[in-house]
């Protein structure tokens, strides 16, 4: 009797203990007890992964550590950054040149790490400019934007910068179809169907990363949304999702949501290469900028190019095929084997999964249901592997863990759903806070995912952080996906809109030959000052060039007289340090642009046009040593026509004797 009683109490006690100690109740305690341990990286320890997060409307790219969510660096890409002098120093201005002139801002949506044999290789990360269509390549030895190429015939470069499995190409697809740059653009907007065209771009990537717009494919006017390359068996193909196959030009919210199915366009780019060899491409007159950073001269150059090779998808029948895909497909993701193509109809309540083998069979057997703008449309069922039924509301994007599972984000129902690619069964779901867009699993769009963490990038945070007025932080959330169930372990706020991100193992990048400083002997900047002996000031008319050096903790020269109103002064500052982590800064009063941050061994130029007579202090802005606050100097500005001679010095302009 007593024993039975004890057993009953024991059972209740154990049951309630289990329930109360671990079960999540609501959003604030959806985190179980060991989450902090999983995300904790002790002081002085390194993270396991680098996370390259697009800055969305900030135009930049941020670098975080995983699983700690610590921010390491914001790399300026498409937007000016006065902190780093990006777009302000004379050397960086050409990087932001376009066929529309200097463009100081853009909207960076997607990042893509370079790959070799379908695996992340740690060489470069690419980013797309959504507004003034461009692709950037960021060098992961220097964490600096090395190259930017503009895309003609495009409006809104969204389905970009996705790559083929050996980084043969980085692609772009126009979000807005527009009249081609080589056609007349001065047409009525409601002639969309007749005059507006889509162009998708294939940009060749060279061995050293240099980009070259190899060709474009012209398609009917639609909105291209996202894309991913085939891999393994489907290498040689590229898949682009598109919506607005209704070809609406106004109130797209309603008018581009009419059709039951839009398309995923499958592009046989190896076939396109064959057609080019056979001379089937047509050269068209366009204008686009190609900007390159030179590590030896520490200077960017911008070249305007005038021609692009265009292939016509309707005329060359076997390059492009349309696969019907329900309701405005957004994400277009290919699994690690290259067999399954996941389309996410953002207005659909199911996820269609296509089979590459079935698609090839359908094309071979001509299982077409018709044409769209001259492009064959494959029968839906003929290419379909199956549908994930009732997975959630508003499927957007899918990544993979390499263990046969797919993870799809649901914007409307704010959740991530894990499902089995082959059986299409839903295995697990977790809420996100709130309205998740993209997700990232390290290597999650490659042949070799590192399926340990999943990061959800959320559009809305509402009540998740301390309030900061009307504009709130956007955020990422890290889940541990190493077990059967996904487990939330950390929230972290991000810069701009964290639109999409990719991640790579830390060792792959930190052991890639990281540059620690620029060798001063290799500095070929036209205005380099190799040692204080060469420090000087020269005048050519009203242009004054200051050849200046910085070292802990003084400038040479630090006293300059003889500058006159009307002069344009160029401070060419060479950082003579030859050690890691010793940048110097440079700022001068009244400069109407940014500061300079000069890396060890680098030369950087600030243009300064003084507007008033007087004394102008200059100083080092990057705390460099115990005598950093002493790292300063003066520039004397005299009236136009003054007879004050041009002089410069360091350490010799001693106080005038007083009487």
């Amino acid at each position: 009797m007593k024993n039975k009683f004890v057993k009953a109490i024991f059972t209740i006690a154990l049951g309630s203990a289990l329930l109360t100690s671990c079960k999540p109740k609501n959003s604030s305690d959806a985190v179980s007890g060991d989450a902090a341990q999983k995300a904790y990286v002790a002081p002085g320890k390194y993270d396991e992964f680098y996370n390259f997060v697009s800055g969305g409307f900030s135009g930049q790219l941020s670098v975080y550590g995983l699983p700690s969510g610590r921010l390491f660096r914001v790399i300026p890409v498409f937007s000016v950054d006065p902190e780093k002098g990006w777009g302000y120093s004379e050397e960086t201005k050409p990087m932001l040149n376009t066929s529309n002139g200097f463009v100081p801002w853009d909207d960076l949506h997607h990042t893509e790490l370079s790959q070799t044999n379908g695996e992340v290789d740690g060489r470069w990360v690419f980013g797309n400019a959504n507004n003034t269509p461009r692709i950037a390549r960021i060098d992961l030895k220097t964490f600096k934007t090395a190259e930017i190429i503009e895309l003609p015939n495009s409006g809104g470069n969204h389905s970009s910068p996705f790559i083929t499995e050996n980084t043969e190409y980085v692609v772009a697809g126009t979000r807005f179809s527009v009249p081609a740059d080589y056609d007349n653009g001065d047409v009525a907007i409601n002639t969309y169907k007749e005059n507006f065209k889509g162009h998708i771009s294939f940009v060749k990537v060279g061995k050293e990363g240099e980009m070259d717009l190899a060709f474009q494919i012209v398609t009917p006017g639609v909105n291209f949304d996202l894309s991913h390359a085939g891999k393994g068996k489907s290498h040689g193909w590229f898949f682009f999702s598109c919506y607005n196959t209704e070809q609406a030009n106004t109130l797209l919210e309603v008018n581009a949501s009419q059709r039951d199915k839009d398309f995923i366009m499958a592009v046989n780019w190896k076939k396109a290469e064959e057609y080019i060899k056979a001379g089937k491409g047509k050269k068209q007159a366009v204008k686009y900028a190609h900007n390159k950073w030179n590590e030896k001269t520490h200077t960017a150059t911008s070249e305007i190019k005038n021609e692009v090779l265009v292939l016509d998808a309707a005329a060359l029948k076997d390059i492009c095929y349309m696969i019907p895909c329900p309701k405005s497909p957004h994400g277009c993701d290919v699994d690690p084997t290259g067999e399954y193509i996941v389309g996410s109809g953002k207005l659909a309540a199911l996820i269609p999964v296509f089979s590459f083998d079935k698609l090839m069979g359908a094309i071979k057997d001509k299982k077409f249901e018709g044409e769209y703008g001259g492009i064959p449309v494959v029968k839906y069922e003929a290419a379909l592997h199956g549908e994930v039924q009732k997975p959630g509301l508003g499927p957007l994007h899918t990544e993979f863990d390499g263990r046969g599972n797919a993870y799809t984000t649901f914007f409307v129902s704010s959740e991530v759903v894990k499902w089995d690619i082959k059986s299409l069964k839903v295995l697990d779901r977790v809420p996100t806070y709130y309205s998740v867009g993209h997700l990232c699993i390290p290597g999650g769009d490659s042949k070799k995912p590192f399926g340990k963490y999943l990061i959800a990038y959320n559009k809305i945070t509402k009540d998740r952080y301390l309030p900061t007025g009307p504009e709130l932080a956007q955020s990422a959330q890290i889940f541990d996906i190493s077990g059967d169930k996904m487990q939330l372990i950390l929230d972290f706020p991000t810069i701009g809109e964290p639109h999409y991100a990719q991640a790579a193992p830390a060792d792959l990048i930190r052991n890639n030959g990281q540059l620690k400083f620029y060798k001063i002997a290799d500095n070929n900047h036209p205005f380099v000052t190799k040692g204080e002996k060469e420090a000087k000031v020269t005048r050519q008319g009203n242009q004054v060039h200051v050849y200046m050096t910085s070292i802990r903790s003084h400038f040479a020269p630090d006293n300059i007289e003889g500058i006159k109103l009307g002069d344009e002064v160029y401070f060419h500052v060479t950082n003579l340090e030859q050690d890691w982590d010793v940048p110097h800064g440079f700022a001068i009063k009244g400069a109407d642009n940014g500061e300079l941050l000069i890396m060890p061994g680098e030369t950087t130029t600030l243009k300064w046009v003084p507007k008033k007579v007087g004394m102008y202090p200059m100083y080092c802005t990057d705390f460099c040593s115990a005598l950093h606050q002493e790292m300063q100097g003066y520039v004397r500005v005299s009236p136009a026509g003054s007879s004050v001679p041009l002089t410069w010095s360091v350490g010799t302009n001693l106080p005038k004797a007083t009487k």
Binding site: F10, D34, K38, V41, K452, T549, S625
Partner: protein, 160 residues
């Protein structure tokens, strides 16, 4: 009896999440970055005559090698003389006059190629740091650069 129940309750509370905690340790193998780089820092092993670095003995010629000294002067103009004068006057760091008489050649070559550990360990360098307050930067000198600079210092000290 009550005691037994409490113990059971406490045990069940402890074990309910215990397994996960153990797993968490396995999930956190963030590579220890310092493990490979940290070598035994035994200050007693520091040799203040030789310094610390790759140079143990440096053979000096009886007379000056003019070509080496000229190369040394060129390198010094880019990497050293922003902070060091040729006289005994301090600029950012101490003047070079007499340095080859105060220091052994291997100490000089070790210090200019490997300053950070020596600043941390050498009592005289630490005393110097209290005066200058700027740690001498590592200027990325090659072995040859260092040897050439040493020869230039000898020239500055009157070796013919």
């Amino acid at each position: 009896m009550k005691k037994l129940l409490l113990t059971v309750l406490a045990l069940s509370l402890m074990t309910a999440c215990g397994k996960k905690e153990k797993e968490a340790e396995e999930y956190n193998p963030a590579a220890d970055p310092t493990a490979t780089e940290t070598t035994a820092k035994d200050p007693s092993s520091y040799d203040p005559k030789r310094g610390e670095g790759k140079f143990t003995t440096v053979e000096l010629g009886a007379t000056l090698d003019q070509a080496m000294a000229s190369k040394g002067e060129e390198v010094a103009a880019v990497k050293c003389t922003s902070c060091h004068k040729m006289t005994d006057e301090k600029l950012v760091g101490p003047g070079w006059k007499g340095v080859t008489e105060r220091r052994r050649p291997e100490w000089i070559m070790n210090f200019i190629t490997n300053p950070d550990p020596m600043i941390d360990k050498d009592p005289e360098v630490q005393a110097q740091l209290e005066i200058c307050l700027v740690r001498m930067p590592n200027q990325g000198l090659s072995d040859d650069d260092a040897r050439h600079i040493l020869e230039y210092m000898r020239k500055n000290d009157g070796v013919k």
